[in-house]
Symmetry: C2
Subunit: 435 residues, 2 copies
């Protein structure tokens, strides 16, 4: 078998066999197939696609490149969740404590990655002392003891995926539904999950802009999960406007803490409760989604979720005082409330533009390894459909640099589009797919 | 400007600007753009194509990566020819001496490359002593003195093309009409030609299998030449059956010598005269193609072409005795005439299968740098349309290994397809395109 023949077969639109995919992924993992062959192959996959069978085989080949976690001693049916990411997506910080409080263990290994704001780990590291690097043993121990972990990659799960992703990032081969689907699923399966909730975001601030494209991606991931014997629920959720109000790092942690205390933005809270409900039901702690969602709401109302979050921070050496006193969290030197330039109904708050403004301020990375500023970001004060008066605060810019504050202000002003006539609010979810 | 953005633009079907193409080729030439980015870009070009304008800009960018030859002191309008290559394609050995004898200088830098038989240089090196490596100065001197040179690359013409071709060869990105066209044309333009005859072969034994595909490639090369201010004639010629009779190295030199002496296979002779006629006319030594072809025929009949070949061999240190006594050329230990298994009209002599048989015998390379056996090959005794009797010699296998001789025999037998009813002979040329 020769790599060039496999590349040529895919170039001509052929369906690769399992043996060919195994050969290619194994060779690439062990540096026997060079980057330039993998890059040509990836571009052929982007433009020619892969069948669900090929995508499943690719997922399995990437799993086989590394270690697998066994969570069977920790839960009857270990659950996990994955969000495709968006602007203001701090859902893990709320969902995980709720689910753990409801008796369903949920350990998460998150990435730092690129994005409009930092990754989940960057957000958690707004809390001084918080340690993200755990050994695989420590991960399992903490998950067993308190039911939640939030750290970086511990075990060497699917190293082929990490290597391929780094190459795709610099060769224009990221936008491929099969490559994205297999990249997400290989880490979830290798991580030991047997049930999974996928939050596939669609809209201006998401990787997939339309419900149709998001559904294609979701369907393929559900298919991979089904072939791997997993239960999978995929939610197609809105990312046309930021989720909640805060877009940044420390300001998102503050919003998550508000939510864990029973407050927080209504859209964000409802989103978290819906996802948490699915996880609780899949984990076997409630007989229906409605019952699971009620249980989730109780965990917020009774403070059990907040308590779980406190235990998480304590277990990973974070300073607990920041939970009781969120004002201790990093604060920007400039906090400027921007008044609405006109009155009307909000027709759009372009999530992409708000996210780009957060990157301008320093809340996100445009290059790998760049430092981020935990304090800065944007807090929008309204949602699509709201009636806004002229002069009323539209959003607040948290900045540490006056010029950047100015640039971000202009960007976020442009992101707000007004209408004279009433506008319907955006839905939280568009559809649900199940394996 | 970032390489990844240029790759992504082509991936999405965009048309690259001249600046983008220059940036990419220059970066790749100087190792600032790594192979993996060039490989992804090349695959995107294979699958998305390039416009004629992009292809011309790519050609110019590759020319700009190296030296250019100036032939203006040698000829008013320097000519060159290029064949896209096929089975039994020894045309240069006959055309070049004819054209030079007619007073039109023609210097050729040939490759060794991969193929069904060796490249033109491998064929010439059947003659002991023949030296293929000349300096640029020696190339120009010899061309001025005797009007013909046949050597390897002397000047560093279009090094970006060499680098890109080596990468395409191992990444499944060879089959792209714009990439092939720019690769051919950049070397011809950098080599100083102002008029060019392209012999684009189509059929079973050629890279382009149909007249339609061959015409697409020819049209693009003619367009590049026109934009560069060149006169170009492209001939779409047949490669469904081997050209002439011999497929190998020394046996092809013998056939070329027969032809230079006024004999040789009729199809091969007529092909050479037609191409030589175009070159003589373009070079200004005859007022029309008909007159130029008559002059070419005279150069064969009067022995002037053979004399030019002799001077070429002498100038490049080859042993002239091999020209007078071709039996001195390397001879295979096994020469087996294979009788026809049946009688009938020859409907097909599959050039690809005959070529593969020659590779089995060792006449060609399947990997770069492999040694070749100059003595071995196949001589077919008939052409499509011929009436053949059962038991009459169909072809002769020249081999140095009995097992390989057996394997090649079976292969070439399969290549011959018979018909009970009469079959028309194949044309030499399908069409002619001009700039």
């Amino acid at each position: 078998m020769r790599a060039v023949d496999i590349i040529s077969k895919k170039r001509d639109g052929g369906e690769l066999t399992r043996e060919e995919i195994d050969f290619f992924v194994e060779g690439f993992t062990h540096d026997e197939i060079p980057d330039y062959q993998a890059a040509a192959w990836a571009m052929a996959v982007v433009l020619r696609g892969m069948t669900p069978r090929e995508t499943y085989d690719l997922t399995q080949a990437m799993i086989a490149s590394g270690e697998r976690l066994d969570l069977s001693q920790i839960a009857r049916r270990p659950v996990d969740k994955h969000s495709t990411g968006g602007v203001g997506d701090k859902t893990t910080l709320v969902i995980q404590p709720i689910v753990a409080a409801a008796g369903v263990p949920l350990g998460k290994m998150s990435g730092r990655g690129l994005g409009f704001s930092g990754g989940t780990l960057d957000k958690m590291e707004s809390i001084p002392g918080y340690k993200s690097d755990l050994t695989a043993g420590a991960f399992l121990r903490q998950l067993r003891e308190i039911g939640l972990v939030l750290c970086g990659q511990t075990a060497k799960l699917a190293p082929a995926d990490g290597k391929l992703y780094a190459l795709r990032d610099v060769t224009g081969t990221v936008p491929s539904v099969p490559l994205i689907a297999s990249s997400v699923m290989c880490k979830k399966i290798a991580g030991g999950a047997k049930a999974l909730v996928l939050d596939v975001k669609v809209g201006a601030g998401a990787f997939m802009s339309s419900v149709r494209d998001g559904t294609r991606l979701a369907r393929l991931m559900v298919d991979i999960g089904r072939r791997a014997g997993m239960q999978v629920i995929a939610l197609i959720s809105d990312m046309n406007q930021p989720l909640g109000h805060a877009v940044g790092n420390a300001i998102e942690v503050r919003e998550a803490l508000d939510t864990l205390r029973g407050g927080g933005p209504a859209d964000f809270r409802e989103h978290c409760l819906a996802v948490a409900g699915h996880l609780i039901q899949l984990g076997g702690a409630a007989p229906s989604h409605a019952a699971a969602k009620r249980l989730a709401r109780d965990m917020l109302a009774g403070g059990e979720a907040l308590d779980k979050f406190r235990r998480l921070v304590r277990a990973q050496s974070g300073d607990e005082r920041y939970i009781e006193e969120p004002d201790r969290l990093p604060t920007a030197s400039i906090r400027k409330a921007v008044p609405s330039p006109r009155q009307g109904y909000l027709a759009e708050i372009n999530a992409l533009q708000v996210g780009m403004a957060a990157v301008i301020l320093g809340a996100g990375r445009s290059k790998k390894g760049e430092p981020i500023d935990h304090a800065v970001g944007i807090v929008v004060h309204h949602k699509v459909g709201d009636r806004v008066k002229k002069g009323e605060p539209l959003f607040t810019v948290h900045a540490n640099d006056p010029a950047k504050a100015e640039e971000a202000t202009e960007q976020v002003l442009k992101a707000h589009v007004f209408s004279r006539s009433p506008v319907d609010p955006l839905p939280l979810f568009y559809r649900t797919l199940r394996s």
